[in-house]
């Protein structure tokens, strides 16, 4: 069972449907016992980092996710959910994240050329950096759907894939049993479903 963590941020209908479509049992939940008993966790999210982090920590779900991930349970953060895996974000202030992957979330503005639009929105191709995460080198150039204005800056060893948008932006990350996609696999067609399938085949690390 995959628990899609519901902490009052964003629309989880499509994500839940996409897991159903590939035959993976899932539950949308904010309940402690259901998260504890799930085999894998997905942390979704849209909107602003500060609000989302506050909701996660206020509900106690933040600590729960940290401890479950610490036990080796596979965790996938999507979009803002990926950004929340990092130490902190500078989106409209400075906010603490879950600290599961060393690094921080910073604005694209000033990093990418001024003539490129922000948010980075649409289908962009992946540049696979290493095979530690959910990708293999054969995924080079596959298209996925992005919508974001901030991106994660971290050590290269955590970057599974990037995407070119004036410069290379972090597209996917991994750190042992913790995975993250800046793009939306649930909106990235058949290839997106394949990525979810791969995540769901990851076993608990011991």
């Amino acid at each position: 069972m995959v628990a899609i963590i519901d902490y009052g941020v964003g629309n989880l209908f499509s994500l839940n449907s996409s897991l159903k479509a590939i035959g993976i049992p899932s539950i949308v939940t904010g309940k402690r016992d259901e998260i504890l008993s799930a085999d894998r966790l997905i942390l979704p999210g849209v909107g602003a980092f500060g609000d989302a982090a506050e909701k996660l920590f206020d509900t106690g779900l933040g600590e729960l996710i940290i401890s479950e991930a610490g036990k080796g349970k596979p965790l996938l953060g999507i979009c803002l959910g990926m950004q929340l895996l990092f130490d902190k974000s500078y989106e409209f202030g400075e906010y603490k994240g879950l600290g599961l992957i060393p690094g921080e979330v910073v604005p694209m503005r000033g990093v990418i050329p001024d003539d490129l639009k922000i948010p980075h929105i649409g289908w962009n191709s992946l540049i696979v950096k290493n095979e530690n995460g959910l990708f293999t080198m054969t995924d080079q150039g596959r298209f996925v759907y992005f919508v974001h204005s901030f991106y994660a800056e971290c050590d290269d060893r955590y970057i599974s894939a990037s995407a070119e948008y004036g410069c290379e932006l972090t597209a996917a990350v991994s750190n042992k049993n913790v995975f993250g996609c800046q793009f939306h696999p649930e909106k990235s067609g058949d290839f997106g479903l394949e990525i979810l399938r791969r995540f769901c085949s990851k076993e608990q690390e011991t």
Binding site: N11, F13, G47, P119, H120, G122, N124
Partner: protein, 253 residues
């Protein structure tokens, strides 16, 4: 590399797609779910569902259909038509829409754009604008292009972007239905005024129209059309192959 998006728009009345033709492998030409799956498999980058229902029962059918599409098609979905309040946003987002397009609703109450962007994020709020040349300016029309609002279009779009509209659909009434190409002049005026993604609509009649759109206006992010796709005059697969051959970045499936 970021790609240009090709977006078919489907008009839905009482839960059924209004126009359509028989594509190979399509059992029911007016089933929104079947058509959505078909377009997605052909390489459509997003889909727009436009609710042209007037009645409450029709609205209910529309959201049922939307839920079914969202459960089966995994590309971004935009919903437009009859979006006048935050409750309307909530209603369609809960059923699986990723973005909501507002048109007359924003004209009646511009604050709707601000409130929706604040609640759901700018990425979720698309301003759709029907524009026609009148008295030497670009004029915003309401009610499906029937009513002159008296507002100048570029300043209206700038205003909506400043309060949170995340993308703009520019629909030229002057070129709509004529099938002689997109309204490059009007689109250029919008491109020069704002820096959010711009979706061109109205006038597509051939593959060449899309090529000249993206070649002459690199700042246009997407091309939207309805009948040329529904009647099979342009096949999305062929269109994307041709764009690719002409050096325009597209996602090939």
């Amino acid at each position: 590399m970021i790609t240009k998006r090709i977006i078919p728009c489907l008009d839905v009345r009482n839960g059924r797609v209004v126009k359509g033709m028989n594509f190979e492998g399509l059992k029911d030409v007016s089933s929104p779910v079947e058509l959505a799956k078909y377009y997605s498999s052909c390489g459509a980058d997003e889909l727009v569902f436009y609710d042209i229902t007037a009645s409450a029962e029709g609205r209910k059918l529309f959201t049922d259909v939307l839920r079914e599409v969202a459960a089966n098609v995994f590309i971004p979905l935009t919903v437009g038509g009859g979006i006048n309040t935050l409750e309307d946003f909530d209603r369609v987002l809960k059923c699986g829409a990723d973005k909501v397009s507002v048109n007359s609703g924003a004209i009646k109450d511009p604050d709707l754009v601000y409130r929706a962007a604040k609640l759901y994020g700018s990425q979720c709020v698309i301003l759709s604008c029907d524009i026609k040349r009148k008295d030497g300016e670009f004029r915003v029309f309401a009610k499906g292009g029937r009513e002159d609002t008296g507002m100048e279009a570029i300043s209206w779009i700038k205003k909506c972007v400043s309060i949170g509209a995340g993308e703009i659909v520019v629909n030229s009434i002057d070129t709509d239905g004529v099938k002689h190409g997109f309204d490059i002049e009007m689109l250029k005026a919008v491109c020069d005024a704002v820096s959010v993604p711009i979706i061109a609509s109205g006038g597509a009649g051939s593959v060449d129209d899309f090529i000249s759109l993206f070649s002459s206006l690199p700042k246009v992010d997407a091309g939207l059309a309805a009948s040329v796709f529904h009647y099979g005059e342009i096949l999305i697969k062929d269109l994307k192959n041709e764009l690719d051959r002409n050096g325009i970045p597209v996602r090939l499936v």
